[in-house]
């Protein structure tokens, strides 16, 4: 094949792959995102991403026999949250939320990648906000990451990043979080998580934290048996179970021997 023949083909391929990269420039993607927004997000986040912070019942229909009310959604304003937050909530499956008032949890992503890109482009177009971060975990330091994770994250997510519990909310395990999602979550502070600005955790420190979280996905278990990496309670349970069984076995043996002697 000559270069002349490859040329147009490559161009065609580029055109096929390019749209996402060119999205912010082109209005088509934003328009597509706006349509999707109307379909999935509008009921809670309001028209043009203004947010709805006052809950109220809206009556639909008219006349004495057709009095129906619907619960209008509640949701924060999306102006100025940028592509960062939109990308986080959509790629984790946190949004669209099933119903208002529950904690967003990682779930199956129902939108296609193309749809997510359009929605992200639309939300980003609502106001000037942070772009999708590009973390470089390979540049981070694992030991510094562990220290930072201990300081800022382990209180809720546990040192092994297996998630935990806070009254009224469940800090999720981080085993499925991608580096980009971790970087986004630290800046956004989803649900009741604190948000950390670049002043509190710099991008370089964030790289280290992500490197550490990646490490916890397959930690080096010196003891050999991780028991879910969830700390002393299950370990204690196992110890009791094995220890008690052994003690009972010893008692039974002694009892049998006494019976034989007597």
């Amino acid at each position: 094949m000559t270069l002349r023949r490859i040329g147009p083909l490559a161009l065609l391929l580029c055109c096929l792959l390019a749209p996402p990269a060119a999205a912010p420039a082109g209005g088509g993607v934003v328009q597509q995102g706006k349509a999707l927004y109307g379909q999935y997000c509008l009921s809670c986040h309001g028209a043009n991403g203004r947010g709805i912070s006052q809950a109220g019942k809206r009556r639909i229909g008219a006349g004495p026999l057709r009095r129906q009310a619907v619960q209008v959604g509640l949701g924060p304003s999306l102006r100025g949250v940028g592509a960062l937050a939109a990308d986080f909530y959509l790629t984790t499956g946190y949004m669209p939320l099933q119903h208002v008032g529950v904690q967003p949890r990682r779930s199956r992503v129902l939108l296609t990648n193309g749809e997510i890109r359009s929605l992200v482009a639309y939300v980003a177009s609502l106001g000037s906000g942070p772009p999708i971060p590009e973390p470089q975990p390979q540049r981070g330091s694992l030991s510094q990451g562990m220290q930072l994770f201990t300081d800022h994250c382990a209180g809720c997510h546990q040192i092994a990043a297996r998630g935990g519990y806070v009254t009224g909310a469940v800090p999720p395990p981080l085993q499925d979080a991608t580096p980009v999602q971790i970087a986004e979550a630290v800046r956004v502070g989803p649900y009741v998580m604190p948000a950390f600005s670049a002043k509190a955790i710099s991008d370089a420190q964030l790289d280290s934290i992500i490197r550490y979280v990646d490490y916890t996905k397959h930690p080096d278990n010196r003891g050999g048996w991780a028991i879910g990496d969830v700390g002393p309670v299950p370990e204690g349970l196992v110890a009791w179970l094995i220890g008690l069984t052994a003690l009972i076995a010893v008692c039974v043996v002694i009892g049998e021997r006494l019976k034989q002697d007597g």
């Binding site: 208002v100 008032g101 009254t167 502070g189 009741v192 998580m193």
Partner: protein, 332 residues
């Protein structure tokens, strides 16, 4: 003191002054258990073992009292365990070599209770025949038991302070003291951002002091709902609370801060030990969990250069609660 004296006196009366059981006189009856020669060696061994048990139990009390020992836990466990082992060994030696052991089977007629009692008393009396140093032996046995008993109730001394409580009210905070981070850098008011939380210490004071660490958070003005007495405690929306949980003294390391207040739980500090949850918007009241009193709040001020300073002392004593914790206010 008067009450303690009464208790000691009545205990003495109870043990010393109680009536003796009637002794069965030797020689009146034929022996039930055949006579055996005394085993002086076994008896001494048992006494020695009981003495060792008592020593170990006393050592436990000593280790407990001498705080600050290296490996204290191991010493405590070792001494108590050894005490039990010696006691068990002493009892085994007593059973095997000192007491006459003879299994006798009798079908006692149910009506003849009186005679049974006498027989039992005689058996007990005669089975102790081999013991020559009777009083010494008793002393050793009760010494071991008593010392072990004292060792077992010693940890109750840690249940609560009641004599010397002044140090618990003392805090290193006083008006004008700057707040610094763990590396000693003073905090400026604009370092404190919304939705994040910071640990601060008093400038130049001991960080290890339980009253030193403070959590700083910034709340929006409309989020704050402080009672009138605490209305002047925040500085520009920044509130400071003791980092030490009022339940068991753990460090509050979890901060819950809603991204969208209308549908999410309110801002609160949560203790990782037992999930005591303190509302930071209304002065640190307990929202959930075993903590029995509100989180102590530190009044804050911002000086001319923008640095955060304490505007006084905490409104409540810091740290886990004890009897009488509410009696006084903290002192500088």
């Amino acid at each position: 003191m008067a009450r303690a004296r009464d208790v000691v006196l009545s205990a003495l009366l109870l043990f010393v002054g109680r009536p003796r059981p009637p002794r069965v006189r030797r020689g009146d009856y034929e022996r039930i258990i055949p006579e055996r020669p005394p085993d002086a060696g076994g008896e001494l061994l048992a006494i020695a073992l009981f003495a060792a048990s008592a020593l170990c139990a006393i050592a436990f009390v000593a280790f407990y009292a001498l705080d600050r020992l290296p490996n204290q836990t191991q010493l405590l466990g070792g001494s108590l365990g050894l005490s039990f082992c010696f006691l068990a060994a002493g009892l085994i030696v007593t059973g095997r070599r000192v007491i006459v052991t003879e299994q006798l089977e009798h079908d006692y007629p149910a009506e003849e209770h009186r005679e049974d009692q006498e027989t039992v008393a005689r058996i007990v009396e005669e089975s102790g025949d081999r013991v020559t140093r009777r009083r010494f032996f008793k002393l050793a046995l009760f010494g071991a038991g008593g010392a072990l008993g004292v060792a077992l109730i010693t940890p109750a001394a840690s249940l609560g302070p009641f004599l010397d409580v002044d140090p618990f009210y003392a805090t290193p905070w006083r008006r004008g003291r700057r707040l610094v981070d763990e590396s000693g850098r003073p905090y400026r008011a604009d370092d404190i951002e919304v939705a994040d939380f910071y640990t601060a210490f008093p400038e130049g004071a001991d960080e290890e002091n339980i009253a030193s660490p403070v959590v700083l958070v910034r709340l929006a003005k409309d989020q704050l709902a402080l009672p009138a007495a605490l209305a002047r405690y925040p500085a520009d929306g920044i509130v400071g609370y003791s980092k030490i949980c009022t339940h068991a003294g753990c460090a509050l390391s979890l901060y819950r801060t809603p991204l969208f207040s209308p549908v999410e739980p309110g801002p609160a500090l949560v203790c990782p030990c037992h999930y005591s949850t303190f509302n930071v918007a209304d002065g640190g009241t307990v929202e959930f969990g075993p903590a029995g009193r509100k989180l102590p709040m530190l009044p804050l001020a911002i000086d001319r250069h923008g640095y955060l300073r304490a505007a006084g002392n905490f409104d409540e004593p810091v740290g886990p609660s004890w009897w009488g914790v509410r009696d006084r206010k903290p002192t500088s």
